[in-house]
Symmetry: C2
Subunit: 238 residues, 2 copies
């Protein structure tokens, strides 16, 4: 396990619109900063710019107070709770979140941004393109901001991943006293994403961060959907 | 907002027992490494060593398969769910977690470690002692490893804090397009804690990490209990 990690915010990306070559824009912005890019870096990319590049933006009537909630419900496979304007839903991907991830911030008035259709695929696409065009073997995580059931305040979590493990299974390893560890499947994708948010903020124009120094054994094929999304059969609270 | 963050794992602490001067041991271990200590550093300290230093260790019969569950229930104010050996409880602090945080790993056989009685106070004690004896103004977070309702894999979260904000309220700020942001109270204490876990691991002897480069405006008095613990009245799922 590496004892030092560095996190760099990436600035200077232009406004992202449907069809732009996002992976190249990210790599060029990273290479334009002093930290550059290195094999083994993990790029955390906010869902907002991925959705915009993929054209997951829809018109919404700004005069209709129910428009956002109806859109959120149309993006859901299940509605878990309602309170006022807020609706807690299960998305097609299996994420449980507020308003199906539908977001009206950082987008022109009259439009809403939806989650990517397949965030793992989005991450693979960016990872593959950076490998092919720039020659760097990086991990990619697509991030979004979710609330938590028992704790106040939002944190960033991983929606999709490529080239970096989502969950690392430490079961069967030994603790520092040589006794067996149990129940230590760690969601490092969410921990890396949370770390990246510390240099991103919500309002600043820093939609990408590089996390450098993760354990090399974590660099492998992965899927947030397969590793992190908890099936309803395992769920004690749905 | 700082665009670069560095995270350092702190090694070389001896085995922690009740009554040791934990703050001094942490500061001396940090100062013995090349990164040293700086004003504005945030020290993330695993609950396990805090509890041991505070004597929150109890004997438990290793031959009794129900001993851990009974101990967990005795540490709870409420039991939310049971499944097999696992009990999801609300602790006296208001945390919702597995087994009231009672832990048998990284402790001698026949003993269990309980959560600190008041983790915010534990954090303040370490912060104050490092300020007084070593002259550094640092933030301190006490961390533990919790599961999540909707997502597989555990992540580290903050149990207590001092000198570093737990939740930062970005409501009323503007997004990058100048529109109002809503619902952006970010739990940076949990994000810092998750980041620190990336250099700690579960089995390695790295019970403390330094997070360097957090936004200076986040360095203030704080309380995880007051800022992060969600009251039952706000809770949609309890």
């Amino acid at each position: 396990m590496s004892l030092e990690l560095r996190i760099f915010g990436i600035e200077g990306l232009p406004e992202i619109t449907a069809g732009v070559p996002l992976a190249s824009m990210i790599a060029e912005a990273a290479l334009g900063q002093s930290q550059g890019l290195e094999d083994g870096d993990v790029l955390v990319v906010t869902q907002k710019i991925v959705s915009k590049a993929e054209g997951r933006v829809v018109a919404i009537d700004p005069a209709d107070p129910d428009a956002k909630r109806r859109l959120a419900e149309s993006e859901a496979v299940r509605i878990l709770r309602r309170r006022g304007d807020l609706v807690i839903t299960e998305t097609r991907h299996g994420f449980i979140c507020a308003n199906s991830g539908v977001d009206l911030s950082n987008v022109a008035e009259g439009y809403a941004v939806l989650l990517p259709l397949d965030p793992d695929r989005s991450a693979r696409g960016i990872r593959d393109e950076i490998q092919r065009r720039f020659g760097y073997a990086v991990g990619v995580i697509i991030s979004d901001t979710f609330g938590r059931v028992w704790r106040r305040g939002v944190t960033d979590v991983a929606l999709g991943s490529a080239g970096i493990a989502a969950v690392v299974d430490l079961r069967g390893g030994s603790d520092a006293l040589g006794r067996e560890l149990v129940a230590t499947e760690v969601c490092i994708a969410d921990e890396i994403t949370a770390a990246a948010d510390l240099v991103m903020g919500k309002a600043s124009a820093v939609p990408v961060a590089i996390v450098r120094g993760v354990d090399p054994s974590w660099l492998r094929e992965s899927s947030v959907r397969a590793e992190v999304v908890r099936p309803a059969t395992e769920d004690l609270f749905r």
